[in-house]
Symmetry: C2
Subunit: 335 residues, 2 copies
């Protein structure tokens, strides 16, 4: 009924607690008889070492904190999942804390993570987080890795997604297919982490000498199907001829498709489209091309960077850049 501790095992085997420890950790000298006897008891009792006690002694918790934002965007769930699985391969657990971008919650969370004695922290996609909080973590000796935000804080490693490149490639793809009228639906650059997606869009137009047109651009407040639909309406309604639309998220693209469905427009025959993040792209009708962010890779890299710094706290800062790539489902018409 109760939980066995080393003392109990030691008593049962008629040895000292130290000998039990030697068997559990497979170090030091133990006679073959005692070893066998203790292992048998360990088996029978289903003894599980108390990580809290050992954590206190060794000052490590085998816990990794993951601070992220609450969002409809499935992309972060992929990353989150990759982090969890990657960490568990090395015997670490992940504590995921979500905020709604309010700094009071974040302050509390940082204290909780320190209190919980986590061995490291990964912060994904919070553009607003106070650098003081990060410093508090590093001051407490906790390594920090930041995903999708390259801020230069000493001893903090980072992973950035090359969103400029992603948007640039998506739009270039459209231009190379002969498109001239290319719409943009996304969050206003000033308020988004992913502002470079808008820059990439403009960059591609500029590169190929296409004059930008304000009628083609629709800013949204957040990522939702409804916002995408509104955007499609505002861009398409007065437009004649073929049109290609780049959205900074698949969710926005889903709204574009709803608008097209309603209006009887076909994709890509009437409207070409490329989404971003490649989350629900394959589930839409039709499945759409999308810039994929390798969530798996991002999560694994985050863990790699974190473990690297955990083993060498004074390592030189490393910034990893992840490149999105086009998953082509042929939703851009060749003109």
């Amino acid at each position: 009924m109760a939980n066995y501790k080393m003392k109990d095992i030691a008593d049962m085997a008629g040895v000292s607690i130290a000998t039990v420890g030697r068997v559990i950790h497979q170090n030091g000298y133990v006679s073959t008889e005692n070893k066998a006897k203790i292992e048998k008891i360990l088996q029978e009792t289903g003894y599980v070492p108390n990580k809290i006690a050992s954590g206190l002694k060794k000052s490590e918790s085998k816990l990794i904190g993951h601070m992220t934002v609450f969002s409809d965007n499935m992309q972060y769930e992929m990353i989150s999942d990759a982090i969890t699985r990657s960490a568990s391969k090395s015997g670490y657990h992940v504590l995921t804390l979500t905020s709604h971008l309010d700094s009071e919650t974040e302050r509390r969370q940082v204290d909780q993570l320190i209190g919980q004695q986590v061995d490291g922290v990964i912060i994904t996609s919070n553009p607003a987080i106070d650098a003081k909080l990060i410093t508090k973590l590093t001051n407490a000796g906790i390594p920090v890795v930041m995903v999708e935000r390259t801020q230069d804080i000493p001893k903090v490693d980072g992973i950035a997604v090359d969103d400029y490149l992603g948007a640039y490639e998506a739009v270039s793809h459209m231009i190379k297919h002969g498109h001239k009228a290319i719409g943009f639906i996304g969050i206003k650059p000033e308020q988004a982490v992913e502002s470079s997606r808008f820059e990439g869009y403009k960059g591609a137009l500029a590169k190929y000498g296409i004059e930008p047109n304000d009628d083609w651009i629709h800013y949204v407040e957040g990522y939702s199907t409804g916002e995408g639909k509104t955007g499609a309406y505002s861009i398409i309604k007065n437009h004649k001829g073929p049109m290609a639309i780049f959205t900074t998220s698949d969710v926005l693209a889903s709204g574009v498709l709803q608008y097209c469905y309603q209006q009887g427009l076909r994709v890509p025959d009437d409207i070409s489209i490329i989404g971003y993040d490649n989350t629900i792209a394959k589930m839409l009708a039709p499945p759409i091309s999308s810039m994929a962010l390798p969530g798996q890779e991002i999560g694994e890299e985050a863990i790699r960077l974190l473990f690297r710094r955990m083993s060498d706290k004074s390592a030189i800062e490393e910034k990893v850049v992840i490149k999105p790539y086009l998953v082509d489902r042929e939703t851009v018409l060749f003109l």
Copy 2:
């Protein structure tokens, strides 16, 4: 740079560690001067209590384990998120462990949770988990709540979703709209937790005296858009006249919509449809009706049951039944 401990604070304030403890816990007697002085130091140093140490002493970790399965099904993410947020309101953190339904991983995870000294465990949607493992948890004094699986294990509370009702209502909705030909796309009842969704489908047909037809039924191996599309093809291809299709997941429905899009069939004009879980339903073109599982409510109930048992380990077992409800987006044609 380093982390302050109570001893450091005590030294700075020139008092004993006990007095510092009294200020932190706001109990016992402390003179107003000392209280002010200590509070100031606490502020300045940014002292954070070490939960590992206090956890060892009080034998509690403020950690809740959440065992779940890795799945494409967004439904579990909703539940997971609700659990995390609900727990954090009471100062608890959640450790999420995902398995791929293999018992070896699960055995390891149970040991990890015991080792981590979690204060409670929530298990979502694992039809195959070994009752022995659950017993190991309860034997270790850890309360367990099971979601979507009502197995009778002493001292284990449960939350079940009334999937029979959900399917029954979806199909009844179709019948009441005049449909006779009603297709089913879902996992073979034998291998699924949600087998009652198939029963509900059959139940509704029986209730209204509609003869079931094997041509209307398509079993899938798992939840994916592709499987849904294949299902739609096999059900619709030889069918004349109006058809309604019930899928046991929105992801499957997304495949049906892709098939329709390809064939130029309109929803609901040509094909009526109702999905299940109401996850991506609103993002599809057109947005479809779906049976919603209140993930928020499920997560909150799970935490409530868990806390209840944590405070009274010998409470009588409670089984909560959650009812899905139709979110009607008018994708069933009135005949």
